[in-house]
Symmetry: C2
Subunit: 433 residues, 2 copies
């Protein structure tokens, strides 16, 4: 059986997990890959005494891995942008295949990296960058290859989903965030997770590999969950909807929607049932219809599972001496469509609105008139007894799908009414049917 | 761009869908595959006027496809056992790759077919045989290649799941089956679907490609849903469980469990939320934990989606002139473990029991004593007021996990009690945690 040599750069959570699973399941993985996958060098700023490195050479300079002539596959698990980019480009320049879990790197520098890899004839694989252990990149690039994929929507940040799940019990964002930090689910600086940046990295990659467009992270819209209230979450539930922090990519005739924001989804839809730190990605294809992929989006061995799946794919190719590979973004570079990301004003969505009306006659008629003028149809409406001491009456409306530009204009006009006491709360909604 | 030539055998539901999707999405699929996938011959007992065959040669003899020297990939969509086997073996003998949606063929004759294909150096791909459009074979063979897979459990027959979903409203099996037949969800002879044979075909394939054991369909245990009552379904719900018709494969130290039967699953588990004709497969791996794959398990274009994904995989390999391929059952033939399928007496499961007790003092104590003697712990118990005119009192018990042999003995002893009026109703239960 042939040997394929792997060098691991980075021994953090995922690096340690990858080392441990590759070691523990070595015989099983060889049986699947048809070759021995050997870890022949490891590099990391700091070593880890808990890993059984044995006689495997360890160094603190990650470039020792890249410059080792015996290594076939460089596994980049150091994270971050610049050092990782330098490392990956150096590996490619040395003719090595690359496996990475670095979503930020691929989302931001992927086009450049794939271009270099294409010229060098090497693979750059990134399954572990999206939704942790769920093999969803393989699903959209290969399993659904027959389909024109129209919509991808995912719960792709476990921290955010954990917080939203806990907020259903009526708890405030800040309180749950604190708890998530104590439990180790959220970072000390939670911005990346709760403001949707991490999800936007993953969504960018999913959108490109599924819809077949270049990576355009800088055009992705991100809106976090930090301003959501238990009040609106509870009222969404009353309307039959659950609030999830979704990444949504959708193909339109003249471009793609690429957006991360809190979203009402029908409680009867399977994605609404995905709770806690778990991830799920729903993919809608013209032939297959809706499919969904569910599992752990983070964790040492869960993410290692995806890293190693990529290693096995590459190792099979190395062992067979084959040039066969799946294109980086699912399509041959010349077949990628240069579709622009649509500005948010051009997206289409349904909306949940909470309007703080003063308790005066005729206010509902005025609201309805404004919506109607902008072609916005009402799906359901709830006028609540005032629960606020200042006598404001919350009017809660769920609309049909409309262009966001129209909704923005309608909200502007409503907020200008003397009968409306405050900013209109607006949360997008999707039916996914 | 290179051409790869495909011949389709069989123009039924899936054949027509495959033809239509390959034609409609030809440019998109070429962009993904890196080659033109051309349908160059079609054969079927009957032609279909609704398909735009154009100048593609059509014949009524399927062997015309197999014997066409220009064809690279034979797509077997005729179904059934003997003719399909003959066709596939002839294709292999002629050095052609094979893509099939035929679960019965693979489950029953797969070992022989893969053996022949291995010797000939060709691919036999069967994603469409399991769970329709859901790329679950790709997930277990490739996406989860790092894992020792311990458990696979799936809703893999849409007809059965539709019937069970409708029965939750209190309707009888026979009534819902009739409706499913009228809607075209169930065949005139529903045995294959409702008695679990179709699910056992799919489970056999899933188990082998995930757990890495030879195909052993003849050892699979099958128990259908035709004797389930709305009464037990409702009482399972009261206990927090939902009844699903599951295929379950599980690795034990000394063998594998391979069984299809009605199963109580916790309502809070995502698989319990999969309703109607949809399918879902849950896979538990030692590194990744639990993942789940959900989508349409049948339908012309949904199944075609999986057929074409296989065609694209093979076409990439043909176009690259590469010998690289994923082993038929996920593992190299010599790495398959020759684990036996355990007899049902040796499986481990929790159980829902409904015991028809006569209204006499001490009967509950006797039941508890019998369970205790066999080491069976009670998770919860419900004693109902008699709802039956004959004064029998149903005692409903949910047990912890125990070996089925112990449960069989306990049931035998309970049924021998003078206080027990009827056969004990027994439905297996799983917690999947």
């Amino acid at each position: 059986m042939k040997d394929v040599n792997v060098g691991i750069c980075g021994l953090g959570t995922v690096g340690g997990g990858t080392f441990n699973v590759l070691t523990r399941n070595a015989a099983l993985i060889a049986g699947r890959a048809g070759c021995n996958i050997r870890i022949t060098r490891v590099a990391s700023r700091r070593s880890r005494d808990d890993l059984a490195l044995g006689s495997i050479p360890f160094s603190t300079d990650i470039f020792d891995v890249v410059n080792d002539p015996d290594i076939d596959i460089v596994v980049e698990l150091i994270g971050g942008y610049e050092a990782a980019k330098e490392l990956v480009l150096a590996a490619i320049a040395n003719g090595k295949h690359v496996v990475t879990a670095n979503k930020a790197l691929i989302a931001v520098h992927g086009n450049e990296i794939f271009d270099a890899a294409e010229k060098a004839g090497v693979v750059v694989a990134y399954e572990a960058g999206v939704a942790g252990g769920i093999p969803v990149i393989k699903a959209v690039r290969e399993g659904l290859a027959a389909n024109r994929i129209d919509t991808i929507a995912g719960i792709i940040n476990g921290t955010g989903n954990y917080i939203l799940t806990e907020m259903r019990a009526g708890r405030d964002f800040a309180e749950v965030l604190k708890e998530a930090q104590d439990l180790g689910y959220a970072e000390a600086d939670p911005t990346f997770d709760v403001e949707g940046i991490d999800a936007a990295h993953k969504l960018t990659i999913l959108a490109s590999s599924g819809l077949g467009v270049p990576l355009q992270f800088e055009k992705a819209y991100t809106e976090g969950i930090s301003s959501l209230t238990p009040y609106d979450i509870a009222h969404a539930e009353l309307l039959g909807y659950r609030v999830k922090h979704l990444g949504i990519a959708r193909r339109r005739e003249d471009g793609i929607e690429l957006r991360v924001h809190p979203t009402l989804v029908p409680r009867s839809h399977l994605i609404a049932q995905v709770d806690g730190v778990l991830n799920a990605v729903m993919v809608d294809g013209d032939a297959v219809g809706q499919t969904m992929y569910y599992g752990p989006g983070a964790g040492d061995e869960a993410t290692a599972s995806a890293v190693i799946a990529d290693i096995v794919d590459v190792a099979r190719s190395v062992a067979a001496g084959s040039k066969q590979r799946v294109p980086y973004l699912g399509f041959s570079p010349e077949a990628l469509e240069d579709l622009p990301v649509l500005p948010m004003e051009d997206i289409q969505s349904a909306y949940y609105l909470r309007i703080q009306a003063l308790d005066r006659p005729g206010v509902l008629a005025k609201i309805a008139a404004i919506l109607s003028e902008h072609g916005i149809n009402i799906e359901s409406i709830m006028q609540k007894e005032s629960e606020f001491k200042d006598g404001r009456i919350p009017v809660i409306i769920l609309t049909h799908t409309v262009q966001e530009r129209q909704m923005n204009l309608a909200i502007e006009e409503m907020e200008a009414l003397a009968d409306i006491a405050d900013k209109v709360i607006r949360i997008r909604a999707e039916n996914f049917n």
